[in-house]
């Protein structure tokens, strides 16, 4: 079997998955919306022209692209230096700090909005007001940086720490300054990883919803919030929603393809190695760590602190309420929410890693086509309300089996986000593996699967660890699609927290705070655990 054949084989399952659980549902929503809107082609064209000429829509479409670009730039600005520090220096608490930086990734938007207020709002616990001078747009950018910096740190850092020091040392021996060696040698080699991280951050910011609604002002909105308004209105405009959804798909696809083309496959191949010697932390790096820690762990710490407040005093009472509260959480308990969240996250982790490995291998073996990669990543940039609604509309027992009452649909939706994400994290590592290694193995008689097992997988193990963290985290924190697909028995932690904030019963909010703290601790513990597994696995192969 040649590499093309191998590629097709690996691509089969991920493609099938995307067809069944992404393409069909999204098309069902768009087709249904077009039919319900009663628009013919001419009517749609008129509507498109109206949207294009109305300031309200134009401003929000422009804002969507600008905020995503700015957020990504700022995230890289903080994330890249952090990646350097974490991969080159040794300091106590390094691993814990990295997990702590990742914890924000799972927090529901309402929790982040309130935590930012508690931390740096006009009446914050710290007495420091940054939100007022930042304004709504600044607050949105800050929240996006808060959410996504760890992605850059991990995806790039994971690459960087395994880059053989020889590259930079050779440059410096030839007379290059340290900065020049970094800029001309190391960063270009890292370009695929940087592009991957930037791309993931960009699509996340592009489809951000809760943060835009809660931190934005009346004049900030995105394509995502527009789709929500048109689709969920008491006077819905399905044709408009379908147009906006198609436009969002197109913009996302173009952006993704652009990233993939820009990144191009790095021509530098290298055998990754685990870095054993790390230098002690110099002073500028320490300053950077202090800034990042203040920004990334401050709000979560404020959140945990707030969870221990009860009627104006410090108390563990919120957690006692949470543990005992059948009455105030309605038809489920907090334990149900924790158990469901963990169950869905574990199932998503397994399913997503299997699909992501196949997809990354398929892309690696193919002479990569940018258009195919753009398609693979498309689910990340599409409105979760469209995906959720689509799953309800298409898997309803008419043409496809009825999934509406099955908990599996939650895992399927989470995996739809987690697996393209994970495959994007794996791809740069697989691409860096020198083809000579695989060729040598084949010459020695290894069959294709053996090459995967003996060469690709061991070398991709650390990246698999990063992918696992984000697949797990993406499920643990997913809100939009879970909300669309919910039934009472499928409550998760983010849904229960959201619900707690909306209830009149005086202790409900207190319990929501406590549950948010539980979610943070669960996320932190899971991330540390996943990393331990990764280290052990790496140890076996190194």
């Amino acid at each position: 079997m040649d590499e093309r054949g191998e590629s097709r084989l690996y691509a089969a399952l991920p493609t099938l998955y995307l067809l069944l659980f992404f393409a069909v549902p999204v098309l069902a929503v768009i087709a249904g919306a077009l039919a319900a809107g009663g628009n013919d082609a001419a009517g749609l064209a008129r509507e498109a022209a109206r949207l294009a000429s109305t300031d309200y829509y134009r401003n929000r479409i422009r804002f969507t692209l600008l905020q995503a670009t700015a957020s990504t730039g700022l995230t890289l600005l903080l994330g890249l230096p952090l990646a350097y520090v974490f991969s080159h220096y040794d300091f106590p608490g390094r691993r814990f700090l990295r997990a702590a930086y990742t914890a924000p990734f799972v927090l529901p938007a309402i929790v982040v909005a309130l935590a930012l207020h508690a931390y740096i709002g006009p009446r914050s616990l710290t007495g420091l007001d940054l939100l007022t001078p930042l304004g709504p747009t600044g607050a949105i950018l800050l929240a996006h940086v808060f959410y996504n910096t760890s992605l850059v740190l991990r995806v790039v850092g994971n690459h960087w720490e395994r880059l053989p020091p020889g590259f930079g040392e050779a440059a410096r021996t030839l007379g290059a300054s340290r900065w020049r060696a970094l800029a001309r040698v190391e960063l270009p080699i890292l370009r695929p990883a940087i592009a991957s991280a930037a791309l993931l951050v960009f699509v996340f910011d592009l489809s951000s919803f809760g943060i835009i609604v809660l931190l934005g002002g009346p004049r900030t909105g995105t394509i995502e919030t527009l789709i929500y308004q048109e689709l969920r209105s008491f006077s819905p405009h399905y044709g408009t929603a379908a147009l906006l959804a198609m436009f969002q798909l197109l913009v996302t696809y173009l952006a993704l393809t652009l990233f993939v083309v820009l990144q191009r496959r790095s021509r530098t191949h290298w055998t990754p190695r685990s870095r054993t010697e790390r230098r002690p932390l110099p002073r500028p790096a320490l300053a950077l760590l202090v800034v990042a820690t203040l920004l990334l762990t401050g709000p979560p710490i404020a959140l945990v602190a707030a969870a221990f407040r009860y009627q104006g005093e410090w108390s563990a009472r919120p957690f006692q309420l949470l543990a005992s509260s059948e009455a105030t959480l309605g038809s489920y308990t907090a334990a149900d929410a924790v158990a469901n969240s963990l169950r869905y996250a574990v199932a998503t982790l397994v399913l997503a890693l299997a699909l992501a490995s196949l997809a990354a291998l398929a892309l690696n073996r193919a002479r990569r086509a940018a258009w195919a990669e753009g398609l693979l990543l498309l689910p990340l940039g599409v409105s979760s309300i469209v995906v959720g609604l689509g799953l309800l509309l298409s898997w309803d027992g008419r043409f496809l089996p009825d999934l509406r009452t099955s908990g599996a649909r939650i895992v399927l939706a989470h995996t739809l986000i987690a697996f393209p994400f994970a495959s994007r994290i794996l791809a740069p590592t697989l691409d860096a593996v020198p083809p000579a290694l695989r060729e040598a193995a084949r010459t020695l008689g290894a069959r294709p699967f053996e090459v995967v097992r003996r060469i690709d997988l061991p070398l991709a193990y650390p990246a698999l660890g990063v992918a696992a963290v984000y697949a797990f985290g993406a499920s643990l924190g997913e809100f939009g699609a879970t909300l669309m697909l919910r039934r009472p028995e499928t409550v998760t932690m983010p849904l229960a927290i959201f619900e707690g904030f909306t209830r009149l019963a005086p202790d409900a909010r207190v319990q929501a705070n406590a549950l948010a703290a539980v979610l943070l601790v669960v996320a932190l513990a899971s991330f540390l655990l996943l990393e331990r597994l990764r280290i052990r696995a790496w140890g076996e192969f190194a």
């Binding site: 401003n59 309402i110 399913l351 890693l353 299997a354 309803d396 009825d402 649909r409 699967f449 009472p488």
Partner: protein, 379 residues
């Protein structure tokens, strides 16, 4: 062993496990058992039913031998969307809280089941029009409580003498000093938001020198904030809302569109002076009649009917006000003390100016006209 065996086996197991959970398409003609015991009855609510649910649950369970399960939604609009999305495989057996403004949507979507309770005669028709809930002549939802959507304000406004007089009319509200302190909910997405829009149509009319759209234009120009839903308005922005007292809370909107009985409910729960006050109905309100409706496709029809009947009994009607901050729909129900202090006297209640037919015909147009004004003024 082939390294792909494990993931492929896992995939197969997961696929078959999910296939195992897949039910056959449900047969909606099955009405379920005629007896009342041994079942679970699921009620999807409007997010404000907690107290009344806690009250009625033991009574219902003792009387029927079945279990009552509450499913919460953010508000009645969200609940109705959930019912429409899950049509054919409903998430619940009944929906609680669909009001007169939303009723036609659900009726047109075909998600409600007809039922005329033998207890309908006890409903006070001086304030409640049953016809508002008929669709093609069939009663599809049963009124169980009612109240007002209107404007509430932070009690601190009244305590600060320097703030000057409170706005006297809805039109005063559109002036710069008050509008900039107001948070309203998007009428397209939120039930109280829709109610308030209807109230402005009732107050200003659609024609004349100053119609409801002029009012909204002023409101928006002068800085009124449109929140996506009641939660955002009440938790994030309203200075006397649920966010109050939480760490770092910075809600600075001192007027909010909400239920005029919210202060009474807060007094009841908090047992103190409520942090917010509502304007009198004459200020401009929407009379909201809330219903319970049996959903199509429920396999517990007999039990669901028994539940509707129970909600019209004096026991529940007397407790509704106390537990949920709404007015009872039946004659001769009693009201708790917190209400006489913090809410309008029910004797002053009158039916809404708009009938169910009016609302069915006009709400989509009002929403679209509002959207044009909104998009122009918040471009």
């Amino acid at each position: 062993m082939n390294p792909w065996t494990t993931p492929i086996v896992v995939l197969l197991i997961l696929t078959s496990a999910s296939a195992g959970c897949v039910g056959k398409k449900r047969d909606c003609t099955d009405e379920g058992p005629a007896n009342l015991g041994g079942q679970d009855l699921r009620v999807l609510d409007n997010g404000a039913w907690d107290g009344a649910y806690a009250f009625i649950k033991p009574i219902f369970e003792e009387r029927t031998g079945s279990r009552l399960v509450q499913i919460r939604a953010e508000d009645a609009g969200a609940a109705l969307k959930q019912v429409q999305d899950s049509k054919g495989a409903p998430v619940a057996d009944l929906i609680y809280g669909v009001d007169n403004a939303l009723f036609a949507q659900g009726a047109r979507a075909g998600v409600f089941q007809a039922y005329e309770s033998p207890r309908l005669a006890s409903i006070d028709t001086a304030v409640i029009r049953l016809n508002d809930f008929r669709f093609n002549g069939v009663l599809l939802a049963t009124p169980v409580d009612h109240g007002f959507v209107g404007v509430n304000y932070d009690r601190a406004i009244r305590d600060e003498a320097s703030e000057g007089a409170l706005p006297q009319t809805l039109r005063d509200l559109a002036g710069a000093s008050w509008a900039s302190q107001l948070v309203v909910e998007d009428p397209r997405l939120s039930t109280p938001g829709l109610g308030f829009l209807v109230a402005t149509v009732a107050t200003f009319g659609e024609n004349g020198d100053y119609d409801y759209l002029d009012f909204w234009a002023d409101l928006l120009d002068h800085g009124a904030l449109v929140a996506q839903d009641w939660t955002e308005a009440y938790v994030v922005h309203f200075s006397a809302g649920y966010g109050r007292g939480s760490e770092g809370f910075a809600g600075d909107r001192r007027l909010v569109v909400s239920y005029t009985t919210s202060p009474a409910a807060e007094a009841y729960y908090g047992n103190t002076t409520p942090p917010s006050v509502s304007f009198e109905p004459a200020f401009g309100v929407f009379h909201q009649v809330e219903t319970v409706a049996i959903l199509q496709c429920t396999p517990h029809v007999a039990l669901a009917k028994a539940f509707v009947d129970l909600l019209l009994e004096p026991e529940y009607q007397n407790a509704a006000a106390e537990n949920m901050a709404v007015y009872p729909v039946t004659q001769n129900a009693t009201m708790p003390e917190a209400f006489t202090m913090h809410a309008t006297d029910p004797k002053d209640l009158r039916p809404a100016p708009f009938t169910g037919d009016d609302l069915d015909r006009n709400v989509p147009r009002w929403l679209d006209e509002w959207t044009s004004v909104y998009q122009k003024h918040q471009a």
